[in-house]
């Protein structure tokens, strides 16, 4: 395991360098926007990575809350399974297909719905007990970093293309900012709350915060926005060569995010170990210390 991290780091560094070369040199120049469109190769993969991390945080938080009682744990398993099966079948019903926005393929929606139980059981298996909470805080923090990049690169791209840094009132932009604020407040809650219920409160906040992710993602389908149409599975179209470079960059970003999450996960485990050691030391100190003379009972 100790050898795996440096090997993966080297592979990721090579992949990131290759992705950068593809983005700046190999990808064709856009006829309308010129070279500035190449920001897409960092902006979109960062957004997808942030969404994936917030999704992991959501699943981990739901499981953490569900595991509080054995009965709720069993109920949650069946509910998640039912959501996956019913949701996947519903995507192929003509009534549902008619309501899907133009360009959204039913099989893509069904795959996304099936990912919910798949992730749920995989995460439950790999991260038992308190490790679910460690995973939740890890994915939220790294997700916020990637979301910050989306919020920084977006306006830098918008300025030369739209002529403005930010479109006030635009639902895609505003909902992304709200998403970022929700997860920042989640991290602030975890950092500064000293209550014994902090982990439960944070998990509940994460569950409600995750509801903003579909709003961000689907806002460009359901509302009129300044933001362009999605490049995959939506009304937008993209040159296959550009799409190829975009997917390479996303793969590189995913590998990088995985490494960062791994480090953050280890950091959180170390943090809890230190806290435990502090608590043990305090306990040992309290029992070893002689009681105050005034408190001693007269003999």
């Amino acid at each position: 395991m100790k050898r795996l991290f440096p090997i993966l780091s080297v592979v990721t560094a090579i992949l990131l360098a290759y992705a950068l070369y593809q983005a700046l040199v190999i990808a064709p120049t856009d006829a309308q926007q010129g070279d500035v469109y190449r920001i897409i190769y960092y902006h979109v993969p960062s957004a997808w990575t942030a969404f994936l991390l917030f999704f992991i945080n959501f699943i981990a938080s739901v499981q953490y809350l569900a595991n509080a009682k054995p009965s709720s744990r069993t109920a949650a398993k069946w509910i998640v399974l039912a959501i996956g099966i019913v949701g996947a079948i519903a995507c192929f019903l003509p009534q549902v297909q008619q309501r899907l926005p133009a360009g959204m393929r039913p099989n893509a929606v069904a795959t996304t719905v099936l990912a919910i139980p798949a992730f749920y059981f995989l995460i439950g298996k790999c991260f038992p007990g308190e490790r679910l909470d460690v995973l939740a805080v890890t994915s939220a923090e790294v997700g916020v970093v990637f979301c910050t990049i989306v919020l920084v690169t977006g306006p830098i791209w918008a300025r030369p293309v739209w002529g403005i840094w930010w479109a006030p009132g635009d639902i895609r932009l505003t909902s992304t900012l709200v998403l970022w604020l929700i997860y920042v407040s989640y991290l602030v809650l975890r950092r500064f709350s000293t209550s014994a219920q902090t982990q439960m409160l944070a998990a509940a906040l994460a569950v409600f915060g995750a509801l903003d992710v579909p709003l961000v993602y689907f806002s460009i389908w359901f509302f009129r926005t300044q933001h362009p149409q999605p490049v995959i599975g939506g009304g937008g179209s993209m040159d296959p060569r550009m799409l190829h470079v975009l997917l390479i960059n996303w793969l590189a970003f995913l590998c990088f995010a995985f490494l960062v999450c791994w480090s953050r996960y280890r950091l959180e485990l170390l943090h809890r170990e230190v806290e435990e050691a502090h608590a043990m030391e305090s306990l040992a100190g309290a029992t070893a210390r002689p009681s105050h003379p005034l408190n001693r009972s007269p003999q």
Binding site: V36, I39, Y42, S46, I156, H278
Partner: protein, 43 residues
């Protein structure tokens, strides 16, 4: 040329944010290791 300025600014901003975050992780790791050492559990 002007658009290239924005392109490089976006790429640079991305890596600056990552570098700052990785820097905080390294700092937090070293602080916790130091605390563990002080508690007599460090190796």
């Amino acid at each position: 040329m002007n658009s290239l300025k924005f392109l490089f600014a976006a790429y640079l901003a991305t890596w600056v944010i990552h570098a700052i975050y990785l820097g905080t992780l390294v700092r937090r790791f070293s602080r916790l290791r130091q605390q563990l050492k002080e508690l007599g559990k460090g190796k």
